[in-house]
């Protein structure tokens, strides 16, 4: 019995994006679609243990959810003297042949639409993420609130506000053309990566609470990839997330402090995720249509392939960061490239590379951290201390601050040793 319920739960979670996406297409109203799916889930919990699971749980949920919502529309229509136009069109929909409704070809645009409406440009990133987790992944408000480290009622409000905003917006219901589809894919990929980073950037005690965000983002990446099998950037995105998340068990020590990649215990890396990530990046490369996610995944792959830190192919990483700078010029990418340059051509070359970035990155924690480390390698200790001091002032988490403090402690020990 418990196995049954666990299985039903997994089936409902797995079916959710397709089912809510299809129901949204019928009813053109997110709340109606969500309620219809909720109703279908309740009926599944009653019917499936008795009758056994249906052969196609997703189709079952869509049909039952649709019928439940239509019943309700009809009841409301009877109470109202004159039905609204959109309700009439819903009633007409009942007559349409069933085969069309369960057409596989609709699914990918349904799911893409569902993800796309969460990416409304007026919504701040945190609301986009919360909305996607609630609507597409079906996480409870409580689970999302825990991941964002806010109270449940605050998160409830945030999601309600976000929904109100997209309800007023024009949701595109027509089947998208190839150009629109590829634009939507790009926007949705960026949102999925936001979900991932929200989980990935957290450190220490927060990391555990936020881990589900990374797992959800990977699930969404795989979902998109099943729908758009030949999109190299979606392969790249999913590979990137897998390769980064594979390192999660080694990224923080027992006290929650950051462990740099060079110092990580690589036996803790998740080999299965790395294998999947490498397989995906290999597939993507065959298309010879490079994009930012693929290049970032290729960089992550070089780290993953190195059995020991000293085996890392830094020259190749330097080249890949160069390619990334060309695709997507950004001072943060140049900063990352400087880390590779320091390994290949030494700290002086790297320092010269990042000095022009100072005005644009003066408020960026990692800029001062990298600068401090380079100055330290060059033996310019007072300047290094100053850079680390600025980094601490900008640290976004206790783990980041603790990491820099460790550098400062090492510096003062070196300083003492030098003065002896």
């Amino acid at each position: 019995m418990t196995t049954d319920l666990a299985w039903i739960d997994a089936a409902l979670t797995g079916a959710r994006p397709r089912a809510v996406g299809a129901l949204l297409r019928y009813f053109r109203d997110l709340d109606v679609a969500e309620e219809a799916f909720q109703n279908a889930c309740l009926r599944a919990l009653k019917a499936w243990p008795q009758n056994g699971p249906p052969r196609d749980p997703t189709a079952w949920l869509i049909l039952v959810g649709r019928n439940a919502a239509l019943d309700q529309t009809r009841r409301q229509a009877r109470q109202a003297p004159l039905p609204a136009d959109d309700q009439i069109s819903d009633l007409e929909d009942v007559e349409a042949p069933l085969a069309e409704r369960l057409d596989e070809a609709h699914y990918r645009d349904d799911i893409l639409r569902l993800l796309f409406i969460c990416c409304h440009p007026e919504l701040p990133a945190t609301q986009q993420i919360a909305l996607a987790l609630r609507i597409v992944s079906g996480l409870s408000v409580k689970q999302i609130a825990r991941a964002f480290l806010v109270g449940e009622s605050a998160m409830e409000q945030r999601i309600t506000r976000a929904k109100a905003r997209i309800a007023g917006a024009d949701t595109p219901f027509e089947t998208p053309g190839p150009v629109e589809r590829s634009e939507r894919l790009g926007v949705v990929a960026a949102m999925i990566y936001l979900v991932f980073n929200e989980g990935y950037s957290a450190g220490g005690a927060e990391a555990e609470a936020r881990r589900p965000l990374c797992e959800e983002a990977i699930r969404l990446g795989r979902l998109l990839l099943r729908l758009f099998q030949a999109e190299p950037e979606i392969m790249g995105l999913t590979a990137l997330m897998l390769l980064q998340h594979a390192r999660a068990p080694a990224r923080f020590d027992g006290q929650g402090a950051v462990v740099l990649m060079d110092d990580q215990d690589r036996s803790l890396w998740n080999g299965k995720m790395i294998a999947e990530g490498l397989a995906l990046i290999d597939k993507a490369m065959r298309h010879r249509r490079a994009g930012p996610y693929q290049v970032q995944a290729a960089i992550a792959a070089l780290h993953a392939r190195a059995a020991h830190a000293e085996d890392t192919d830094w020259a190749q990483i330097d080249l890949l960061y160069g390619a990334l700078e060309a695709l997507q010029p950004s001072p943060v990418i140049t900063l990352n490239r400087a880390v590779a340059v320091a390994k290949v051509r030494g700290p002086q070359a790297a320092l010269e590379m990042i000095e022009p970035l100072a005005s644009r990155l003066s408020g960026y924690f990692h800029f001062h951290g990298v600068k401090g480390a380079l100055l330290q390698q060059l033996g310019r200790l007072p300047e290094a201390r100053e850079a680390f001091g600025q980094a601490i002032a900008l640290a976004g988490s206790a783990a980041e601050a603790a990491h820099i403090r460790m550098h400062l402690d090492r510096l003062s020990r070196e300083g003492q040793a030098a003065s002896v």
Partner: protein, 123 residues
């Protein structure tokens, strides 16, 4: 006679399992595996990476390489067994054991093996 038992299930559902649920299923299956091994008829098994990691090659004069699994269906091939069975009945019995250990939807395709190439002792 060697039989291959192909494991079909919905990737969406299996992918929605938590790590704990996945571990529990694997533990239940390993009981079955151990029994077959003790009987000396377990040639090996494989669990495959998600179909999103698959690449296909379609035969032809110029073989065509495609992304994704070979065919698109609601259920994906998630693994297979190669098992020594005396008869189809015994192979069916083995598949029933698997279904008991890993219940739900999905199914198994049972197909006689024409040629079996044993591994080179990788494990």
């Amino acid at each position: 006679m060697l039989y291959a038992i192909l494991c079909y299930n919905s990737e969406e559902i299996v992918g929605a399992w938590t790590k704990e649920e996945d571990d529990a299923v694997m533990a239940d299956l390993s009981v079955v595996h151990d029994r077959w091994a003790a009987e000396g008829r377990f040639a090996g098994a494989a669990r495959l990476l998600p179909t999103t990691a698959a690449t296909s090659l379609r035969k032809g004069d110029e073989p065509l390489v495609l992304d994704g699994p070979f065919v698109e269906t609601k259920e994906q091939l998630l693994g297979f067994y190669v098992l020594d069975c005396e008869s189809l009945d015994q192979a069916l019995e083995a598949a029933r054991d698997l279904a008991k250990a890993n219940p739900g939807v999905g199914g198994y395709e049972i197909r006689p093996v024409g040629l079996f190439v044993p591994g080179s002792g990788l494990a």
